[in-house]
């Protein structure tokens, strides 16, 4: 927050659960150094993170299991530090250092 430079990165952890880990090398937790600003110089938001994950972290080509029409697909909950992202502003939430972002697929089996 103290006059960050253009090259700054934000260290965060990104978790996947409910089967989404399959799309990310079967790893539930990833440490990510996210560029602090997007291509337009705007602060990194969750929308930017989602795009970044698709381009840099996803191993599986089935991107439609994660995003649909450039948004997170229906049936995936996004949690910012363990709270539903709607409490934080959804895609517009600006990512802070050491945030934990969790993507959970809604389950239906039983």
């Amino acid at each position: 927050m103290s006059g960050a430079t253009e090259t700054a990165e934000i260290p965060i952890t990104v978790d996947f659960s409910g089967g989404l880990e399959m799309l990310f090398d079967n790893q539930r937790r990833h440490s990510v150094s996210l560029p602090a600003v997007d291509a337009n110089g705007k602060p990194a938001t969750i929308a930017f993170l989602i795009d970044y994950l698709c381009k840099n972290l996803m191993q599986d080509p089935r991107a439609e299991l994660f995003v649909l029409d450039n948004h997170i697909r229906p049936g995936i909950l996004v949690l910012v530090n363990d709270a539903d992202w709607e409490l934080e502003g959804e895609e517009a939430y600006e990512i802070q250092p050491r945030d934990n972002i969790l993507f959970v697929s809604t389950l239906h089996g039983g």
Binding site: D15, S17, G18, G19, M22, R28, R29, Q59, D60, P61, R62, E64, L65, L68, R73, P74, G75, I76, L77, L79, D82, A83, D84, E86, L87, L102, V104, S105, T106, L107, H108, G109, G110
Partner: protein, 467 residues
């Protein structure tokens, strides 16, 4: 422990005056009840009052499977007075590793009857009500309105949205859980239930508030396909019972009194419920993220079911509005193979037996765990996910398309047959191969085996270990 409790019986009757809070259900416990429930009644906060509330409660368990068995066992053991159970399935051997309310001796029996047999043995005191059929938009409201609390122990989104919508309209608290493979989820909704259309941060959300839209069907797999670890679904079912017992024994589902200036019960109001998620990691012991408690949002102003301008009604539901099946299905990827690109399992087998297929390749796209139990002779396993990954890499990096094929198949124009588990991945695989040009402009046949290994078992080899 044993002697301790018996030697200091709770002075029955001393709390009679306060028991009336639970709908005037004050009465003495019978000796049987007293013996049976003593260990939970002495838990702080439970007491005779909590026990009587349980005895006077009615709980509906929807689904008598991996969630419903443990959920029903624990509420029956705890003494919930009336327990309704809905399910139209019959017990199969493959259920028993997780559906612990059934038994080997009851394979083939209706699950509802099997589970009630077990529950009566566990505790004969409750009244058990069997519903050996499916919950439908037509019967849901009549059944659900007879109960105080609903446990969603089903296995599909169509029923989950139906249950929640009816619970909103007939105002019942809903304890919902789900599990698949190595993950489980649990949450309490609509508790206490508040009328549709009242949107204020004071009110608890419904299932649709938390899970606005179902995932596209293509991203969903059933326990039959993906597998399920018994303790994962069992833990969720037990936790459902725990939540139900808490809610009923403490009357958390009773509407919060209004205009009383009563600010000392905010914790009782689940206006922002917690979603518990459990992940069972086969590669490590209980890790720091095995259990997580996530904070969900409250009731949504624009919720289709409980929100401000909701048009959802019981009459509408009965007459097919909304259409739950359509809501939960998405336009499936259109795969339209020509008739000559498809062959039945029986026809493939016959052609092979007659020597009409001397040189061909059979690719089995099931997951390797499925493949490991058995396969058609000569089949080569290329799991569907890996195959898609390779196909994407070839498209992106432009390597030779034949890289996707096993080495022995690179020889051109050898026909390729594709088989999967139930017949849909194989069709997509045929499409993908054609997209990559592996049909050599039509010179190489690429054929889908209709209905997958499921059809193989039905049409060719009844002893095949199909999972």
């Amino acid at each position: 422990m044993e002697g301790d409790v018996e030697s200091q019986p709770v002075a029955d009757g001393t709390t009679a005056a306060t028991d009336s809070v639970a709908n005037g259900c004050s009465r003495r416990l019978t000796d049987d009840e007293f013996d049976r429930y003593s260990r939970q009644m002495i838990v702080p906060g439970m007491g005779k009052e909590g026990q009587l509330r349980l005895i006077n409660s009615r709980v509906l368990v929807i689904g008598a499977g991996g969630l419903g068995c443990p959920a029903a066992q624990y509420i029956a053991g705890a003494g919930v007075g009336t327990i309704g159970i809905i399910d139209n399935d019959v017990v199969e051997a493959s259920n028993l590793h997780r559906q612990v309310g059934h038994a080997t001796s009851r394979i083939g029996m209706k699950k509802v009857d099997s589970l009630i047999t077990h529950l009566k043995e566990l505790n004969p005191l409750p009244t058990y009500v069997p519903y050996p059929f499916q919950l439908t938009p037509q019967n849901a409201a009549d059944i659900i309105s007879k109960y105080d609390l609903v446990m969603d122990c089903t296995d599909n989104p169509v029923t989950r949205y139906l249950i929640s919508d009816v619970c909103v309209l007939v105002r019942k608290p809903l304890v919902t859980a789900a599990a698949i493979q190595k993950s489980g989820q649990l949450t309490v909704l609509n508790c206490p239930p508040t009328p549709q259309g009242l949107v204020d941060s004071e009110y608890a959300p419904c299932y649709r508030c938390c899970f606005r839209k179902p995932p596209p069907p293509s991203s969903m797999v059933s326990c039959g396909e993906a597998g399920i670890m018994g303790p994962v679904v069992g833990m969720m079912g037990v936790a459902q019972a725990g939540e139900a017992i808490k809610i009923l024994a403490s009357a958390l589902h009773m509407p919060v009194a209004k205009n009383v200036g009563d600010n000392n019960t905010p914790e009782k109001n689940l206006k922002q419920p917690t979603l518990l998620i459990y992940t069972f990691d086969l590669e490590s012991a209980v890790g720091p993220y095995s259990f997580r408690a996530l904070k969900m949002g409250g009731r949504k102003r624009n919720c289709f079911a409980c929100g401000e301008n909701s048009t959802l009604t019981l009459e509408g539901i009965k007459t097919g509005n909304p259409d739950y099946v359509q809501f939960c299905s998405a336009p499936a990827p259109v795969v339209s193979l020509a008739p000559e690109e498809r062959i039945t399992a029986a026809a493939y087998h016959a052609a092979k037996e007659k020597g009409e297929l001397p040189d061909h390749l059979l690719i089995d796209t099931r997951e390797k765990e499925h493949f490991s139990f058995g396969s058609i002779q000569g089949a080569i396993n290329v799991p569907f996910g890996k195959l898609l990954m390779k196909a994407a890499a070839i498209k992106r990096d432009g390597g030779p398309a034949t890289e996707i094929l096993p080495a022995e198949a690179v020889k051109s124009n050898t026909p390729i047959f594709v088989v999967c588990r139930t017949g849909s991945d194989s069709q997509e695989t045929v499409e993908k191969f054609k997209e990559l040009g592996l049909d050599n402009g039509g010179k190489r046949r690429i054929v889908d085996i209709v209905g997958g290994m499921k059809a193989w078992k039905q049409e060719v080899d009844p002893t095949f270990p199909y999972i």
